[in-house]
């Protein structure tokens, strides 16, 4: 035990994506001694892959845009299940968070008058996404990374040590969060390079670990997305909400098989790309649901006019929220109108000149050319749904991002509530900045108010034993790669885009079987940079998070956003008021129901009554009428 490295910090941020880095910057600016921990190298977190942009109602392209409009779009996108307060804060604060990035050195694409340019995206009423071509995530993470460097340089000038107040521990994986008297006291992990263990003592921990997509075979997510933060939170006694809501992005690559799932950015559609089936029909016009009927074009002519004149035309149906488009594509494929490789066509080649495509979508051009031998300026792309994003996550206080365990905070994809049942494109990058900053701020405040914490040796010994177990079991036991494939199979087949009771029940049985086998996972090799060992430790997280999704999906008997039940195809207003809350007890997921916080009257009044009737229950509508006043026309 003596050779375990120990560190003491005020704030430990687990995760070096957009949310984690923004939280760390804030904590350091608050004067806190801060550690940033990540599984990958610094600058490689998932955020780097985001393409389309970051949503913020700056009104640079259409001056009618403002925070209220953004708020309404976000609530609509999430089918009114969002935590309204998070959606409100997000809409209000995202412009400031984007502008701040310019002061760190970011270079977004510009409008003619020199402001930050904004692009259209599904579900956003006005052009709203700040972007850099189709590599916005790279700009975001690099900018934050460079801001961290600049803060380290300031510290070096002041203390002669770059790492005096802000240190990055990259390629370090956290496997346990410790509590002392019910409050956070630190965490435990291993250093990938050496395989040695490390302990952080800290009164405040920010989870910014991203998502869970690696539990699916067809996914846009990387090996890092094993739901670690979700699982750490559960094991520490915190709660998860909305875990049944997973976003299947409508457009992932489908060919060649080895790249199946890799993302094709929504900007392709935002900039004019259209979806066609194998009969060359632009099919999205057939899939506009009633709730969205008024906002979307009914003819191809109107849809095409919209790109140039948004005042007098309605949007093309290709820009419906992602869940709608994904289901439509799925239905076309199931009806036999898909391509030979099981997708549909996404075409820009007939819509824009080649130079424009190369300028606006450089990395898509690159990606298809190099990975699929497809020239998107000449041919259509083939696309299909891919597991992309989890709306569900740690249940947090909307203003402070605090979980129910004192000292534990969560921001970014790992947190839940902000996006309701479906996230709009571009709302994640802005979410990372808004709530990353808040997490850093409130974690710092918590650290200031807390006395020194300590981690008991016995807790460290137990964590080390758990981490070493797969190595000690050795090769004769279950192979981690095989277990991961089986888990992905179960989730893809039985807890996918379209769900039914029998399949979900089947998934729980299969997951129970996997649970026993994962407890016996064994690996060969040593402790130094051993991916088999790392995966073996990730598996238990993937498992518990998958179980949360399957259980919540079975419980919710309706279809809404990222949760579609074939046996309950309609959205049901009584379910809109219910959040399913997951807890962990005896290594099993328990569910409880909790009311969704009710919107404040002035926010509710931003919507037209006609629209609300599609979402709210009779009683809620009666209340709305009462507050709106008799005879209100609204």
């Amino acid at each position: 035990m003596t050779n375990i490295e120990r560190h003491t910090y005020d704030v430990v941020v687990i995760g070096a994506g957009g949310a984690g880095l923004r939280a760390a910057i804030e904590a350091r600016l608050a004067g806190k001694k801060t550690a940033i921990i990540s599984k990958s190298l610094f600058g490689k977190a998932h955020t780097v892959m985001a393409e389309g942009g970051a949503a913020a109602a700056m009104g640079n392209v259409n001056s009618k845009d403002n925070a209220n409009v953004h708020f309404c779009d976000t609530m609509r996108g999430g089918k009114f299940l969002n935590n309204f307060r998070m959606a409100e804060l997000h809409a209000q604060e995202s412009p400031a968070r984007i502008w701040e990035l310019e002061t760190y050195g970011a270079l977004f694409d510009r409008t003619k008058d020199g402001k930050i340019s904004q692009r259209n995206f599904g579900g956003h009423e006005y052009p709203r996404l700040a972007h850099v071509g189709d590599r916005t995530g790279l700009e975001l993470i690099r900018t934050l990374q460079q801001k961290i460097v600049s803060l380290q340089q300031e510290d070096n000038e002041e203390f002669g040590d770059y790492e005096a107040r802000l240190r990055v521990f990259d390629e370090c994986t956290i496997t346990e969060v410790f509590l002392d008297g019910g409050k956070v006291s630190g965490c435990f992990g291993y250093i990938r390079e050496s395989g040695e263990f490390v302990v952080f003592e800290a009164p405040a921990i920010v989870l910014a670990t991203g998502g869970v997509g690696k539990s699916y075979k067809v996914t846009s997510n990387s090996w890092e997305y094993t739901g670690d933060g979700h699982a750490l939170a559960l094991r520490a006694g915190a709660t998860l909400i909305n875990m049944e809501f997973l976003q299947f992005h409508p457009t992932g690559m489908v060919w060649p098989p080895s790249v199946k799932g890799i993302l094709v950015t929504e900007s392709v559609r935002g900039d004019g790309g259209v979806l066609r089936n194998s009969e060359d029909k632009r099919f999205m016009f057939d899939y506009v649901p009633d709730v969205f009927r008024q906002q979307y074009a009914e003819t191809e002519e109107e849809a095409d006019r919209w790109y140039d004149d948004q005042e007098n035309n309605r949007r093309p149906p290709e820009l419906l929220p992602r869940d709608e488009v994904a289901r439509a594509i799925n239905a076309e494929i199931k009806a036999g109108r898909g391509t030979a490789s099981g997708g549909v066509y996404l075409d820009v080649s007939t819509r824009m000149p080649a130079e424009v495509i190369k300028r606006k979508l450089p990395s898509m051009y690159h990606q298809f050319k190099e990975l699929a031998d497809v020239d998107i300026t000449k041919q259509p792309m083939e696309v299909g749904p891919t597991c992309h994003y989890i709306m569900g996550g740690v249940e947090v206080d909307p203003d402070t991002t605090a979980a129910c365990v004192p000292g534990l905070f969560a921001a970014g994809e790992v947190s839940g509530g902000m996006h309701g049942s479906n996230r709009l494109g571009g709302n994640s990058l802005s979410d990372l900045l808004v709530f990353g900053k808040r997490a850093g701020e409130y974690a710092s405040a918590h650290a200031s108010a807390t006395k020194r914490v300590t981690v008991a040796d016995s807790a460290v010994a137990a964590a080390a034993e758990t981490a070493l177990a797969p190595l000690e079991r050795g090769e004769s036991c279950e192979n981690p790669y095989r277990l991961q494939q089986e888990l992905q199979q179960v989730m893809g087949d039985l807890v996918g885009l379209i769900r039914t009771r029998t399949e979900l029940e089947g998934s729980l049985t299969r997951l129970a079987g996997l649970k026993e086998r994962i407890a016996k996972v064994g690996v060969t090799g040593g402790r130094r940079y051993n991916p088999g060992w790392h995966l073996a430790l990730d598996l238990r997280n993937m498992l518990v998070v998958s179980e949360a999704t399957a259980r919540a999906a079975l419980e919710r008997e309706e279809s809404r956003g990222g949760h579609t039940r074939d046996d309950f195809p309609a959205m049901r207003p009584e379910w809109r008021c219910i959040n399913l809350v997951c807890t962990l007890a005896d290594q099993s997921i328990g569910l409880t129901r909790k009311p969704v916080p009710a919107m404040r009257p002035e926010l509710l009044r931003l919507f037209k009554r006609a629209e609300l009737t599609k979402y709210l229950t009779e009683e809620e509508l009666a209340e709305f009428d009462a507050i709106a006043g008799q005879g209100s026309e609204n």
Partner: protein
């Protein structure tokens, strides 16, 4: 459907290692990284290799394939003959950790020494105005995914360990150029810094870095040569130095147009 291919992969650590032979199935459309993953899943669970995005966006999977620095996730197997042996080794310029994983901390240390963007004091957040043409060159450099392939290929440090102290490498030269050409960066000593502290003078413009860059950044023409020429201009002409801020925009034209 798959074909059976011969792979040789370097296995070992800083103390030494060897090329190991593998006969692996390769399917249509696959890239080198897929094959490494297959070896991991079926034969060598502890084979160490970095990756994240599998789409050329994160710069994690850098290695040398048949001696050429490349991204494993963007190296299509169809670019090799079916009978050709494919040899995968770690990038050579940096110390080995294990198998295909190297210690790239050199690059982060150099980045830490590079003075950060200095915001213009007079502008509040939200007041920044820049024309698209004026930021395009800097944006080109900001496409960098930090794969460090350019750093690996550069002979100044690839063949001369002793130069590492004085030389930051092409990745950091484009960072210096990016900030130099940023319309609102408040510092005006980027070129001098590149010359004095980053070892720009050691570069003899072989253009190898430009050739390997997966983002097709014109590192040599648009950053290195541009910076070198300006350093020379300014050394000999104090007026140029005085006029810097005023003429910034002209200076952002590429030194050479190709």
């Amino acid at each position: 459907m798959g074909t059976d291919r011969h792979f040789r992969v370097w296995r070992g650590n800083e103390a030494g290692g060897e090329l190991k032979d593998y006969q692996v199935e390769v399917n249509e459309g696959e890239v080198a990284l897929d094959v490494l993953h297959r070896i991991q899943a079926t034969e060598e669970p502890d084979l160490a290799v970095r990756w994240n995005c599998k789409a050329g966006k994160c710069g994690s999977c850098s290695c040398e394939i048949n001696g050429k620095p490349r991204l494993a996730c963007m190296t299509r197997m169809s670019t090799f003959e079916e009978t050709e042996t494919v040899t995968v080794t770690p990038i050579r310029t940096f110390p080995i950790v294990r198998d295909l994983v190297t210690d790239v901390s050199f690059n982060y240390a150099k980045a830490l020494a590079m003075p950060a963007f200095k915001p213009p004091g007079e502008l509040a957040p939200g007041e920044y105005r820049m024309q698209q043409v004026d930021i395009e060159r800097s944006q080109e450099f900001r496409k960098c995914i930090e794969c460090f392939l350019c750093q690996t290929i550069c002979h100044v440090i690839r063949d001369h360990e002793e130069n590492k102290e004085a030389f930051s490498g092409p990745r950091l030269f484009i960072r210096a150029a990016e900030l130099d050409m940023h319309p609102l960066d408040a510092r005006s000593d980027r070129e001098e810094f590149a010359q004095a502290a980053q070892g720009l003078g050691l570069c003899n413009i072989t253009k190898c870095c430009t050739e390997v860059c997966p983002e097709h950044i014109k590192i040599t023409d648009n950053a290195i040569i541009a910076m070198k020429e300006r350093v020379v201009d300014e050394r000999f002409d104090p007026l140029v130095r005085l006029g810097r801020k005023i003429f910034r925009r002209d200076r952002r034209q590429p030194a050479s147009t190709k």
